[in-house]
């Protein structure tokens, strides 16, 4: 089932499958987040903190809701 990154709860992992629009895709690409990446949610507060590969990135929830995961 496809969800958005925003719905991932702390400790859960998933694989990215797509982005809402090219803008989001480009923005996240700069930080190394591509389609097919295995992401883990590290924290959720006002924003979300995710880990993938060896990188940790914090992003606004509005942005997280534009990333599709499975």
């Amino acid at each position: 089932m496809i969800k958005t990154l925003r719905e991932l709860s702390t400790g859960e992992s998933a694989r990215t499958v797509g982005f809402y629009d090219p803008y989001t895709e480009n923005l996240l690409k700069k930080f190394g987040l591509f389609v097919g990446e295995n992401v883990k949610c590290v924290a959720r507060a006002n924003m979300m903190v995710i880990e993938f590969n060896l990188m940790t990135v914090a992003l606004a929830k509005t942005l997280a809701s534009k990333v599709f995961i499975k």
Binding site: F34, K40, A43, N46, V49, N53, L54, A58
Partner: protein, 587 residues
């Protein structure tokens, strides 16, 4: 080949936080500020050596970044560069190589340095530099800038002219995803261990992201800072430097100098109430320097550890209420060291709107380290802890209201936060010491350049009777509205030029430690007024440069009136409270 002076210009370029400045330091012997968060290099350092002029640049994620000052600065630097050293991190190599691909299209001779190789080894990443070199058509050098590993190879490569103009043909044919896919399939980059770690560092990292634990840690750090700075540095060190100056240095100096110099005016300038050798030396070296150094040591330590980006995540919710996002916590914290530094650091914020709000908050409601020291010293004579709470409450409200008002009136929306969180690391003592010395030196230079003329001006104003006049004319404000002694007018006059140093005068007026002439209510009023009072000249110059004269003027005028208005409210409020709670009388 383009020339730069007579030497070629070698630009270090790459993503934020990959270690460009560290490498710059290793290649040269000059110091460029290194911190463990993206966006530390806001100004450009240069160093001329026999093989060329090395230039450190601010990090960029992407050249297409619109409206980013850093991208603009770096683009301009690239226009005049002869050779580019593209610095990438082993930790984030896939991502960093995307920028490499963009750089390659600029058609400049280039070398790729993969830094932070020690991290790669720790994390089970293998990088085949030969394959990568073939794939990109570039010389690739592995490095650990922190340990100066790879430095000789880089210098040798530069000497041998190994920096080649890359061919960008292949790049245009493959998309970014295809390219990264190839890197993994062709085993150029192999990531072996599962990426999610364990251990103590890992646990601490988790705690720093935990919604409750992180606040507890933040408060604990704040408390420790207060203990170290307020109690140890201000209480013990400054106390002894001041008593040394008062009982030894100043009397002997006066004795000696007044014998050598007969001229009365010169004596007044050097030894008088605002004397360069007495008051200035005591203020700068006896009081401010120990505090500044103390503050900078703590800041360097925190900066290096990687704590700040985590604090950004924590404070994002609170900051979003005043039109900012969590990233703004870094300039604001640096502003607590020195407003100038904080305002410069607002460049790491994504939009002009964010920068304006953060600058206003720093300019109005963030007292710098020198001021905090005075505030702590003043308030520590007030045993009633309610005074502390009131002070903190007032300053937080001032920051909140400033932010809210601007948030409502400025067009647009705050930018969405997306930020890189670097790994936690043990701060390096060497870097902390170097950074502190570097900043303390900067502070002293600024202080002496601006404070010396200020002191001379004050002596002049005093001699022609202006200060007495100012005291008289400001009496309705100082005495009637704020309920403070009339000498406080001197601090207003001097505060316009150099607020932090002027605040020191408050201690004298209050007779702290000797006569205790002020009541608790007066101390609170005075500290509030001074905390909110106009930014000092240096900060103003920076605001002017960064945001234009309108912003600088607006901020100056606003903080002038806000400080008096709030001071007046405090004075009146405390008077009322006094009737029912006796706050003003508590000793």
């Amino acid at each position: 080949m383009k020339t730069y002076g007579s030497r070629r210009k070698i630009l270090l370029a790459g993503q934020p936080n990959v270690g460009k400045s560290s490498l710059f330091n290793a290649l040269s012997h000059k110091y460029a500020i290194v911190s463990n968060y993206p966006g530390t290099t806001v100004s450009v350092s240069e160093l001329s050596t026999e093989i060329g002029v090395f230039v450190d640049s601010p990090g960029i994620y992407d050249f297409s970044e619109q409206g980013s000052d850093d991208a603009e600065v770096t683009k301009q630097l690239l226009q005049t560069a002869d050779v580019v050293i593209n610095v990438a991190s082993a930790r984030t190599l896939e991502r960093d190589l995307l920028l490499t691909r963009q750089l390659m299209q600029m058609n400049l001779p280039m070398i790729l340095v993969i830094n932070q190789m020690d991290e790669a080894e720790k994390n089970g990443i293998t990088i085949d530099d030969e394959k990568l070199s073939k794939k990109l058509g570039l010389k690739v050098i592995k490095a650990v800038a922190k340990k100066r590993i790879g430095v000789t190879e880089i210098i040798a490569a530069l000497k041998n002219n190994d920096a080649r103009r890359p061919s960008a043909r292949d790049i245009k044919r493959t998309s970014a995803e295809q390219f990264i896919g190839q890197l993994h399939r062709q085993k150029v980059i192999i990531r072996r261990k599962p990426p999610f770690g364990k251990g103590l560092k890992h646990a601490l990292d988790r705690a720093l992201f935990h919604p409750y634990a992180a606040w507890v840690i933040a408060l604990l750090i704040l408390f420790l800072m207060f203990k170290i700075l307020g109690v140890y540095v201000a209480g013990n060190i400054v106390d002894s430097t001041v008593s040394f100056m008062d009982s030894f240095y100043i009397p002997y100096l006066k004795l000696v100098v007044s014998k050598i110099i007969e001229n009365e005016l010169l004596q007044d300038i050097l030894l008088g109430e605002f004397g360069l050798l007495t008051m200035e030396v005591k203020t700068v070296f006896g009081i401010l320097l120990p505090l500044i150094v103390g503050y900078y040591v703590i800041m360097s330590f925190l900066e290096d550890s990687g704590y700040f980006p985590r604090l950004s995540v924590l404070t994002d919710g609170a900051l979003s209420k005043i039109g900012l996002n969590g990233r703004a916590v870094i300039p604001i914290l640096l502003g607590f060291g020195c407003g100038t530094m904080g305002i410069l650091a607002t460049r790491i914020l994504a939009t002009k709107r964010d920068r304006t709000i953060a600058t206003a908050i720093i300019g109005i409601a963030v007292p710098c380290a020198a001021q905090q020291a005075i505030i702590v010293a003043m308030l520590s004579y007030v045993s009633d802890s309610r005074v502390w709470l009131i002070y903190v409450f007032i300053m937080l409200s001032a920051a909140f209201i400033t932010g809210r008002v601007l948030d409502i009136f400025l067009k647009g929306k705050s930018s969405e936060l997306l930020m890189d969180i670097p790994p936690l690391q043990m701060p390096s003592a060497r870097n902390c010491v170097k950074k502190t010395l570097f900043r303390a030196f900067d502070f002293m230079r600024e202080m002496i350049f601006i404070f010396t003329p200020t002191c001379v001006a004050m002596t002049g104003l005093n001699r022609v009777g202006f200060l007495a006049l100012a005291q008289e004319y400001l009496a309705p404000v100082v005495q009637d509205m704020l309920n403070l002694p009339k000498e406080f007018a001197n601090i207003f006059v001097m505060g316009i030029l150099k607020k932090d140093a002027a605040s020191v005068g408050l201690l004298d007026i209050a007779g702290i430690g000797t006569t205790n002439v002020l009541t608790n209510a007066q101390i609170l009023t005075a500290t509030v007024v001074l905390s909110l009072f106009v930014p000092c000249i240096n900060a103003l110059v920076v605001i002017f440069r960064e945001n234009g004269w309108k912003a600088a003027a607006a901020l100056w005028i606003a903080s002038f009136f806000i400080s008096i208005l709030v001071g007046w409210m405090v004075a009146v409020g405390l008077n009322l409270l006094d009737a029912s709670y006796g706050l003003g009388e508590l000793k």
